[in-house]
Symmetry: C3
Subunit: 253 residues, 3 copies
């Protein structure tokens, strides 16, 4: 596929701030062991996918970062942290992203990500005092919607695990989701990205609807699916496609 894609790849290399960082996400060993993969990366993934209109480069960087954290890809976190910061994701947003994903993809993924991010933050002079801490002014709560959600979960699962029900209310929906330094639209977008990357389409309906309620467009959602095909693998995305199709159909009725 080399010839017909080289033009757009070269265009990317020359014109966007993140071209060098994209190259930096590809270990040198790839060229040594799999020259064809190197070419698919440069002409296909970097040249076509990252430049497609459906999703901004800033969103692509954030979604990719979320997929890496979810998949526990420690060696990829540092270059994608640099890439995300250069693409316009703020240090506070990345900090909130791993905090959010601690709950949504497991504590260990978030703490491993922190270890990989710390040198990048140190190098750029980003200090803990620049980042949101525990005490923030929360976003307003939609009390009615939250009460309905909580009642439903309490009724369904209260006898299975009251702990899950309680922590879901106190730590997630009345705390984490109200933190202001990551927009609700972005918070939902990384949650959906994490669910796709983790292979949990069965949990996606609620969060994709929430993402779209908070401003993610259908075109962006479709662009995110195409982007994640590369970073989470084709089968993960093909298992998510029917769920997205249903969500889109139900919203257009």
């Amino acid at each position: 596929m080399k010839s017909h894609l080289a033009a757009s790849a070269l265009a990317l290399m020359g014109t966007t701030a993140s071209a060098q960082e994209l190259e930096a996400t590809l270990p040198e060993a790839v060229a040594a062991v799999a020259p064809a993969l190197q070419d698919y990366a440069e002409t296909g993934l970097f040249g076509q996918v990252w430049t497609a209109d459906s999703l901004s480069q800033r969103d692509r960087a954030l979604v990719t970062f979320a997929a890496m954290v979810t998949r526990g890809e420690a060696t990829q976190i540092a270059p994608f942290t640099a890439l995300a910061l250069d693409a316009g994701v703020t240090p506070a947003e990345l900090s909130e992203t791993i905090t959010h994903l601690a709950f949504y993809t497991g504590w260990g993924n978030a703490t491993a990500a922190a270890t990989a991010m710390a040198p990048v933050y140190a190098q750029r002079g980003i200090a803990p005092t620049d980042l949101p801490d525990a005490d923030v002014d929360p976003l307003p709560l939609d009390k009615e919607a939250e009460a309905a959600r909580q009642n439903m979960v309490q009724d369904t699962y209260g006898e299975v695990s009251q702990g899950v029900v309680d922590y879901t209310e106190t730590m997630l929906f009345r705390d984490l989701w109200l933190r202001p330094d990551l927009a609700p639209r972005d918070r939902s977008m990384i949650t959906v990205a994490g669910l796709i990357a983790a292979g949990q389409p069965e949990q996606m309906t609620f969060h994709l609807n929430r993402a779209m309620d908070n401003g993610l467009t259908q075109a962006e959602a479709g662009g995110m699916l195409a982007h994640l095909a590369f970073y989470a693998g084709w089968p993960r995305v093909f298992s998510a496609m029917p769920v997205a199709k249903d969500v889109f159909a139900n919203r257009s009725e």
Copy 2:
């Protein structure tokens, strides 16, 4: 959430042997990159979850260790090995746990865990001769139940893969499960924890029933779900909740 949780967190720090080890499971980078996550860990996870009555700290340590092994979180294995040993899990039990999880979550996870555990064992003077080897006096076999299980699997899958059917009988149910140095209740508990962490609720019914037949209480199972929400991520637990609900309901009929 800082203020209203600090008291219980401080109580934990002062009174249990594992407080220091819990802190040791949190890389220093977390405070540098995500101060809010540091606070959720200290006040929420360590202060509330680890001290909840539903599950003993010994069981929490064992369940967390099993989740880490299943998720391949190599960098977390060493501090959680130390934590588990301090919380009352024996060296033999941890050794049996990774042997068991080799079969239930893949050989590579177990061997990577061994590599991470070895320095902790060496430091504490735990020698291979202190640990159960291949030749042990097996627990008694429930021949009738095993014959029924084997017949069912043979009938269903014999023509699909006789190898799977045979190894399941000879290596798992007539060998591994009868090893005495990890109690059947604990063996089932780590199996269920592994299934939740791996996102396989579809395989959970048999093993959760077996765990409860062997002494795991419904309250403990509920506590394990709440605990694993943090270490395996909320969506993994929410996909396991309907299965647990059905198991609980069927057992109370």
Copy 3:
């Protein structure tokens, strides 16, 4: 289980080229921390499973390698690369395997594998110029079958994500799958191995049928399931068994 399996284990150790490499895939820490696991590996996994007739050692090495890449088991990639090369998998085939799995299990898994493989390739004097690059003479395309596949996917998912639909056609079915340096039968076999290892039986029907259309026998598929029970964990295989059963049944009608 030591006594009755030792004979076949010893036979393996003495007679096959890969015995030493198999031992090399077991970190030394295993004997220190879990002597019983060491014994299960030597007598059960290496002595029984790797020598079973259902699947060649070359195929076992390739399938295991694919499972490791899919699971992101970086520390296991180097010894299994050496093992695969010694068992008859060519450097070009391994190179194509990670390129293929970049699309089927995520880019990061493939690039991490490349990093782990590079020292083995360097040590054996395998240069990039020995490996297939982007420009190869493609295998002939079955235009009718591909048009049918593409029309079906376009109709079903064109409005969900045109990007996914387009990349699936241009990069996968009209490009990657036609690359000649990994046989279609092997390409399908590693895809199925990846789906089992990733816990995606819901995507397996198409690819297992394709594998068998391209020459994988039912006995080999059954042998692959038994082999992967060890490397991907029993529950992954038990979730794949009903899908394999249906595929086998539908093909024999």
